[in-house]
Structures are given as C-alpha cells and as structure tokens.
Amino acid sequence: MNELIYFFNYVVVAGSVTGCIYAIGAVGVTLIYSILRFAHFAHADMMTLGTLAVLLLTLAFPHAGDPLGLPTAIVMLPVAMAFTSLVAVGIDRAFYQPLRSHGVKPIVMVIASLGVTLMLQGLIRLFAGTGSQNLYVDARKEIFRIDVPGVTRPIILTEPQVILFVITIVAVVGLHLFLTRARLGKAMRAMSDNPDLARASGINTRLIITLTWVIAGSLATIAGTLLSLDVAFKPDLSFFLLLPIFAAAIVGGVGHPYGAIAGGFLVGFAETLAVFNWSVLLRPLRDSLPTWLELPSNLALVGTEYKIVVPFFILVAVLIWRPTGIFKGKVI
C-alpha cells in the first residue's frame, strides 16, 4: 500500500497539477488560434508577465490576504489579471492589428508573436532579474497530510495545489458557461466558425477580438500564478512552457477549448509518468521475481532533465497519426 500512496503523491497529484496548468495555458492558445488564426508564441511570456504583476503586488502588500485566510498572491490575482489583459489588448492594438489589416500570412503573425515574446522577456528580466523568487512573501505554504488507515505514508497535498484545483474547476466551468450561454460567448464561437459570416450577421468582430485577448490574458495570469505558487516564480521558463502548451493544444485539436483541456491533462500526466521511477512500484515484487531478472534501480523512461522530450514526442506522434488532434480541430 505504501507504494500506491507514493504513486498517488508523485504521479496522480503531480500530474494533475501539471495538467491543470497546461490545460489553462492551452485553452488560451487555442482561443487565440480559433479567433485570430495564428499560433501565439508569446503566451508563455504573458503567463510570466501576469505572475510578475502578482509578485510585485504581493511584495507591495504582503499581508492583504491574511483577513481572508488565503495567500496574498490569490487575493491579488484579479488585479493582475486585469493588468495583463490590458497589456494583451495593448500589444494587439500596437503590433498585431496593423499586420492583420495588411492581411499578412499567418506565419508572419507567428514571427511577430516571437518578436513580442522577446520584448516581454526583455522587460520581465529587466525588472525581475533572472533568479527564481517565491510568491509566498512573509508566509508559509500549508501542507495537508491525510492519513489513510492501515498505511504509514500519508497522502500529501499542499495549499497551492488545493487552490489550483479549485480555481481550475471554476475557470473551466466559467468558460463553458460563457461560451454556451452568454451572447458574447456565442458570438465568439460564431466568429471562430466563420469570421466573414459572423461579420455579415452584425457581430462586432473588433469587440470579439478584444474580448479574446482579455480572456487569454486572464487565463495566462491564472496559469502562471498557480504554477509559481506551486514551485516558484522563474522568469526564464517561457520556452520550456511553450512546447507542452502547444502540444496540449494540438493534441486536443487546435481551436477546440475542451480538447485543449483534455490535451493539457494528457501531456501533464505523460510527463509525470515518463519521469516517474517505476522500480519503486515493483519493489514489493522483487522477492518473488526469478533470480536472472534483476531490476535496475532506475526504471524511469526519461531523466528529469529530458522532460521536454515527452511533449515533443507527443506532438510528433499526433502530427504523424492524427494531425487534427483527438477531438478534430477545425483547421490544419
């Protein structure tokens, strides 16, 4: 049983945490894709930017969360979301809008988003340096230990992980209700289906584009902050986050928000399972194994340093066998 609890702590919990973060990130990417038709590479840096805003606010008011009993970073999240959305809309107006009105190819938009990535990276590192910082300023992470009867090892959950699960569920349900019930959400889906038809039937496409950036910026802030709460704020993660997030979006079918959520969890669990040392689970069997079969001490599929290989191979496999993704994305 101890091994199972170990498996639960190091695979189920860790995989869900990574999966939630990738899922929220991938939803943002896929929404931008379905409305604006290009792969937005600056998304990972928008996550970092949002987190930086949270960090700065937390540093400024370290005890704002105490009355509510929540970490200050969570209390500051809405403010940071508003700020990041504003920046995202501003970037769109300043850089993407002119290119769009020139009618450039999607790949040029991709290059422009790489330019935006670099600008954001430069700004972020100019203000935050390159070292990692903890979002828990003047506070401690609470750790919950749940004892399972008959087993010595407890199930371990930390406070940020619990918050992460709650916020992910709220965000996903909120997004679902927005897309299916609200007028603007329906307009958004119409525009992702057929922009020309949407415009002809009187939908304000400019407003929809602005709204897309607001949602994308907010989701990016949530994902970045939750990731940083769980580990720490690292300004130079961006290229390592991009690949899993894009892999998640493509696995789920590009332009398909629910697919992106599934893809995020798939990629997150695949990463966790690949770096998990399976020999721990086989240890109880060791005595009953024949003598010629000696188990090596390290049965992980890939070392932690090669974690980035996992999303890459998922991406390659999907592109080879099912380029539309699991849930049939719209466009290839």
């Binding site: 290009f38 792969a39 590479f41 850089f95 002119p98 290119l99 020139h102 009618g103 450039v104 190819k105 999607p106 790949i107 040029v108 991709v110 290059i111 422009a112 790489l114 330019g115 935006v116 990535t117 670099l118 600008m119 954001l120 990276q121 430069g122 700004l123 590192r125 100019l126 340096g129 390159t130 290229f239 390592f240 991009l242 690949l243 894009f246 892999a247 493509i250 090596p296 390290n298 049965l299 599929l301 070392g303 340093e305 090669y306 980035i308 290989v309 999303p311 890459f312 991406l315 390659v316 592109l319 080879i320 380029p323 466009v331 290839i332």
Partner: protein, 437 residues
C-alpha cells in the same frame, strides 16, 4: 492562406531598372563606413574577430534565407542546428582520449549501440506483423510493449556504461581528425535532423514547423548539456583546433585574418551556388510553390518533396555555420547556445536584410552583428546613466546591473523584429522578382 500575400505587390519597383544599383551601393557603402569606424576605434584584432563571427552568422543567415525567403518555411530552431554543428566540429577535431580507448569501455559502448539497433529492428519487424495475418490491434499492442521493454533495457545498459565512462575516463574524447571534416559532418547531422523534422511537419500548416523546430532545438541543447560522457556537459571543452595556424603561432591578428579568409571563401562558394540555384528552373519552382502553392501543385510540382529539399538544404548550411562559429570561439559550451543569440539574431538579420535576397541577407548579417556587438557596451552605459538618475531621484538601487542591461537588448531585438515586419516587410534590400512580359 488562400488570399494572395500583399507583401509582394505586383507593381514592385523591379520593372524600372536602374543602370546602377544605387540602393545596394549606398547601403554597402554605409556598412563599409561603419566597419571602418569600428576598426578605427576598437583596434584591428577585435574588429577582425567581429568580422569572422559576422561571417559565420552570414552562413547561418543564408541558411535561413533559403528556408524563409525562398520557400516561406520558418525555422525557429536555428540554435539546435548550430549546436549540432558545433558538437560535430568539436568531436572530430579535439585530441583522442587514449585512456578511453585503452579501457574496455569502447567495446561496451559498442555493444549498447548494437543492442539499440537490434531492438529497433525487432520493434520494426513486429510493427510489420500484420503483413502475415496478425490482427492490427494485437500488432500495435505487441509493438508498443516490445518497444517499451527494449527501450528500458537499452537505456539502463546505456546509463551504466555512460556512468562508468564519466567516473573512469571523464569523457570519450575526440577523434583527432582535421576540423573541416567535422564541419562537413556537422552539416550532414543538421541536415539529417532537418529531414526528420521536415518529414513530419512540412505537409502541415507552417505554424507546426515553428513549434517543432523550437522543440527540437531545446532537446538537442538538453542532450548536449546533460550527456557528460560525450561532451563533458557543463564542464565545457576547450581549446578547439583551427584549420589555420593558431594565434599562438602567428599572433592574433594574422590568425584571425587567415580564419576570416577561410570563411569568406566559404561564403563566396555558398553565395555562388545559391545564386545559380535561385536563377535556375529549380529556384523558380521553389518561388512558385511559395507564392501560390495550389497552382504550383496543379502544374505537377511535387510540393512536399521540394519543401523537404529546401528545408534540409537550409539546415545543412546552419550546421556548417554553427560548426565554423564554434571552432572559431575555441570553446564548446552547450549552455552557451541561446535562443536569442543563435536563433532570433539570425532571424533579424534575414528579415532586416531582405528575405530571399542573398545580397540583402549578407548585408543584414554584417550590419546586425556589428550593432549587436556594439550594443553590449552601449546598453551598459545607458543602464548606468539611468541608474545614476534613478538613484538620484528615487533612491532606486537595482542589483546585478550588468546582466539586466544585457537583457535590455532582448527587448530591442524583439522591437526590431516587429518594426521591420510592420514598416519594411521586404527588408532593406528586397528580393527582386523578375517579370517577363
């Protein structure tokens, strides 16, 4: 994708031909002036080094210009191909590690490699079992199980062998062969990786190629950084031999000038070949595919084959350029390959100079590299001035100033990309599209 790109308006200025290419002459004259100013202020040894590095970057930029300019494929993983070329140059040129070859380790490594081949063959064989009547589902399951088990067995052997190599002889050393052989193999390696990526992505949307190349670059870097048995990892390898006499033998200036002459000859050869290819029927076909894929396909051109060809070709140039650059630096440090320095700088060179125009690309490479090298000290000076003001007015005291000032250059590169895309999408020396009326 279907709308014709307004980037290349039909009424381009190419119909009015000047007797003298005034624009090119003026730009290259200005560039020569800039380089001469650097020579006058920074001294000849430093400036020659800058020119050698700029010429290595020019090879990289020529590689990107055929991918992006000729064929409209964007490669965001130049860093990976550069690192691969650099590794090959290092591996071939550094002296042989006799301790490694005298031990039993080469044999064990050989057995592991053999096992790898055998496992691959077995898995491949199982994946073809359906030809002899095994149900497809069963075949898939068998292939996956066999692949997983075989992979785990091989990887655990490999881990034990590489662990022994690291603990007993540090790393496997080089081959002690001439450098140019490493350069050629570096190009071939990069081309091989390019073939693999291109094979997967080129039939799909162009965005996927960007993601895949970005990913493969990080993977190559992670592999080189963590394979201590192969590359010494973060311990770095130096010095690397040069194909020309070392600075120790003939002095810095002469040695660098000799190296420069080697790179210039290489560029001249590449430039000549590209020029011929561009104006040949092959070049026209590539441009036709770029500008109107549907009609090119209707004319019976094999789109994916041609794209594959040009992608691999560009990757080979990047591998060679990276090998030459690494040899010149004299240090193989996997962590020294950065997306900014080895991917985005090259991108700026190409889109600023003029994608699809070889001359423009060369111009962009030298200009951007000179600006890049000079911007380091300039950024530091500006940062110091700002901080002096800041501490005077607001009592602002940021730490690790120098690294932050260098980060400011990242911002400038990003801004430059956006400004060029917005205001000069065809570059300073645009591609000349020939019109035949």
């Amino acid at each position: 994708m279907t709308a014709p790109s307004p980037q290349r308006p039909a009424s381009s200025a190419t119909s009015t031909r000047h007797a003298l290419p005034i624009r090119e002459l003026a730009l290259f004259g200005g560039l020569a002036l800039v380089v001469l100013t650097v020579f006058a202020t920074m001294g000849p040894a430093y400036s020659t080094r800058m020119l050698v590095e700029a010429s290595c970057y020019a090879i990289l930029a020529l590689g990107l210009t055929i991918q992006w300019g000729y064929a409209g494929q964007f490669n965001a993983g130049i860093m990976g191909f550069v690192a691969l070329g650099g590794f090959s140059a290092t591996f071939f040129s550094i002296p042989v590690n006799h301790a490694f070859w005298a031990s039993d380790l080469p044999g064990r490594l050989g057995w592991v490699l053999l096992a790898m081949v055998v496992v691959t063959a077995i898995v491949f064989g199982i994946s073809r079992l359906d030809r002899i009547g095994v149900p497809k589902l069963l075949r898939t399951i068998l292939a996956i199980v066999a692949g997983l088990v075989g992979y785990l067995v091989v990887i655990s052997w490999l881990r034990s062998v590489t662990g022994d190599i690291e603990s007993q002889v540090e790393f496997i050393g080089g081959l002690g062969l001439p450098v140019w052989l490493g350069w050629i193999v570096g190009g071939a390696l990069a081309g091989g990786v390019g073939y693999f990526i291109g094979h997967i992505c080129l039939g799909l949307r162009s965005d996927y190629l960007v993601i895949a190349t970005l990913g493969i670059a990080e993977i190559i870097k992670a592999f080189l950084k963590n394979s201590d048995w192969l590359t010494r990892g973060t311990a770095t390898i130096s010095p690397l031999p040069w194909p020309v006499p070392d600075p120790g033998e003939v002095g810095f200036l002469t040695a660098r000038a000799l190296y420069l002459s080697v790179t210039v000859v290489m560029i001249a050869v590449i430039f000549f070949l590209l020029h011929r290819a561009y104006h040949a029927p092959w070049g026209r076909m590539i441009r036709a595919i770029r500008d109107n894929e549907v009609s090119a396909a209707a004319m019976g051109k094999s789109i994916n084959r041609r794209r594959q060809e040009i992608f691999v070709f560009g990757c080979i140039l990047m591998g060679i350029g990276g090998a030459v650059l690494t040899s010149f630096n004299g240090l193989f440090d996997p962590q020294g390959y950065l997306p900014l320095n080895h991917t985005f700088l090259v991108l700026v060179m190409v889109i600023l100079g003029g994608p699809g125009n070889n001359l423009g690309t060369l111009f962009g490479a030298v200009l951007v590299y000179v600006i890049w090298i000079m911007s380091g000290p300039m950024a530091l000076a500006v940062m110091h001035a700002i901080v002096a003001l800041g501490s005077h007015w607001f009592d602002w005291q940021p730490g690790n100033l120098d690294s932050r000032a260098l980060q400011a250059r990242v911002f400038v590169i990003g801004l430059l990309i956006l400004l060029v895309l917005r205001f000069a999408p065809r570059g300073l020396i645009p591609e000349k599209v020939a019109h035949h009326n």
